[in-house]
Symmetry: C2
Subunit: 348 residues, 2 copies
């Protein structure tokens, strides 16, 4: 992260001193995410990482870039900015876990019209916290003030994760066969997808405010339900992938829902039946479906509908994997089965 200072530049709307102060405040937290692989300090042009120092020498790299989308709008409405940083890291961790990889390092990008040291510190706190939880170094990042591109409290929070997996352990779905069971792991809420539609339904159409507590949300406010932290599935799932335990593929249920994400990891000629009622979703999902009068196909394409992650597993080993996941603190459910055909068929 780079800091400039310049009077004339400030006149153009770029407040460089505020950025410097916020960065100083954040540096200690970023340093605390260091793993033995990190060879560089903050402030260099690039972050340097030696995979061999964390047991990943000679392994393949898996990389993914993603953002938290308009979830930042909810954060701004609620004045609570730490959770979106955690959402971003956990989202990216799950994206590479799907291919069997564990995190090595992460680089973030924050674009904003005007950097507010308070929310910036909260965002970095969230990023750092989730990095530590996932044993992922926050290796670098960039913060850009671009007045005119972003209005008011808006900002963009995206990042890139790089992880590692031994070549022989890459999960590519090629072992999936008809009859494989689908184990679903519960999501905590919308995770980081579907916020454009959720905001339209709840704020534009129903005129809710973030502090409202509709009874359907069972105690949570609108803001709390929407900001629920995107879960990382690294801890329960990774141990099942590192040994041959009968996991044939994984799908992270992000934008596009189960309907679009599950087929991404199924071989040609195979589809799946998914049971819509196998897993009790958190209350925000039935609430959104009812308030928005969303039909089922639509709902399962835009939202994760309570299923954050799916493991496609050998039928014979399904029970044993369910027990293992329960021991790891998860509440797994069989949510469907792989079948001949293509695409996902929902069944009530």
């Amino acid at each position: 992260m780079q800091v400039m200072t310049s009077k004339r530049y400030q006149e153009a709307g770029v407040d460089i001193d505020a950025m410097a102060a916020a960065l100083d405040q954040a540096k200690e937290e970023i340093r605390a995410t260091k793993t033995p692989g990190v060879l560089s300090d903050i402030g260099l042009f690039g972050g340097v990482f030696d995979p061999s120092l964390v047991g990943a020498g000679g392994e393949c790299l898996v990389a993914s870039t993603d953002g938290v989308g308009t979830k930042v709008r909810i954060a701004a409405l609620a004045g609570k900015f730490d959770t979106v940083g955690q959402c971003l890291i956990n989202h990216c961790v799950n994206d590479i876990l799907v291919q069997g990889a564990r995190p090595l390092f992460f680089l973030d990008y924050i674009g904003t019209g005007h950097l507010d040291p308070d929310w910036f510190a909260q965002v970095v706190h969230g990023l750092s916290l989730a990095c530590k939880e996932n044993h992922c170094a926050l290796l670098g990042g960039e913060t850009a003030e671009m007045p005119g591109i972003y209005d008011g409290d808006d900002f963009e929070l995206v990042g890139t994760i790089v992880g590692a997996v031994a070549k022989g352990k890459i999960l590519d779905g090629s072992k999936v066969v008809a009859g494989d069971r689908l184990i679903g792991l519960p999501s905590s809420g919308l995770h980081t997808n579907g916020f454009s539609l959720a905001r339209k339904i709840l704020f534009d159409e129903c005129s809710f405010e973030v502090g409202d507590h509709p009874p359907e949300l069972e105690g949570a406010s609108i803001g709390e339900a929407l900001l629920a932290i995107h879960k990382s599935y690294l801890k329960p799932v990774l141990p099942l992938l590192q040994k041959e335990r009968g996991v044939h593929a994984c799908a992270h249920i992000t934008g596009g829902g189960v309907l679009d994400n599950l087929p991404r990891v199924l071989p040609k000629g195979l589809g799946a039946k998914v049971l819509t009622n196998a897993l009790d979703p958190v209350p925000i999902f039935p609430f959104l479906v009812e308030k928005g009068k969303i039909d089922q196909q639509e709902a399962w394409r835009v939202f994760n509908m309570g299923i954050g992650f799916i493991l496609v597993v050998e039928a014979d080993r399904c029970q044993e994997l369910l027990e293992e996941l329960e021991k790891a603190g998860e509440k797994p459910k069989v949510v469907g089965v792989v079948e001949e055909g293509e695409g996902v068929r929902l069944e009530d």
Copy 2:
């Protein structure tokens, strides 16, 4: 890159079909950037890369995230979107070159209010072209439509590069001593920094339009001068770093100019004298300084002032390195010297 399709989601302002069409158009170009290290096709959750297949097995990774900032505003004004993609890649390539690394792969992120297939295809064309030129695979990326965050033609173009360098070849500036010469390589223009100020001076204060041809720009229009492609210094510089040729450090002159970027690679206790007239800058620099009445310190902190990249080299080997860079097609100039002290002292 992930594509969704959903009627209800479209009502919320997310045009998914247009994105799908634009992605299809771009996929072939992205595939053409493949290097032997790429193990994955487009559309998976993460991109998979095996460093050992490109001779980087066992090396350290160097990663950097950056964006092109408000240069996209100029692209929108000029209706020309291919160069910003090249700028982004070349910027990131230079950032890791500073530490001795060559590119392995890149992941891009495009955030926009509304994806226009035309400009999207141009941006991806630029990204792909520059990736090929730098032997860098375009391994993945994310495109997000976020109506409400971005207005009109605005978009955000950022990305992350991952490269490799043998552990013993990492350039960290530790060998720099007083008396080392600074070799400057010419920039093509602003590269990707200082656009907030340039736009303020040229458009807000001087009321120029992108199509105007002020005589000071020697034939170029305002738009052409501002959109000049950020140069990649990989080809002339990398060969000098791979063998022991007396290069002690490199600095990529980005936001913060020579004044902020050169000190980033000098050891504590060392500063530099930089000659402001050693290298003839392209005409946009004197033009901006004159029109904006910017003082010298300010100009050298916001703009690269004609110097895109600096090599800090052993005095005795300076002449030989200059000749080598000339053979590689560069127009290098000695622009200063390392001295005791701290910071950069400008001298006319």
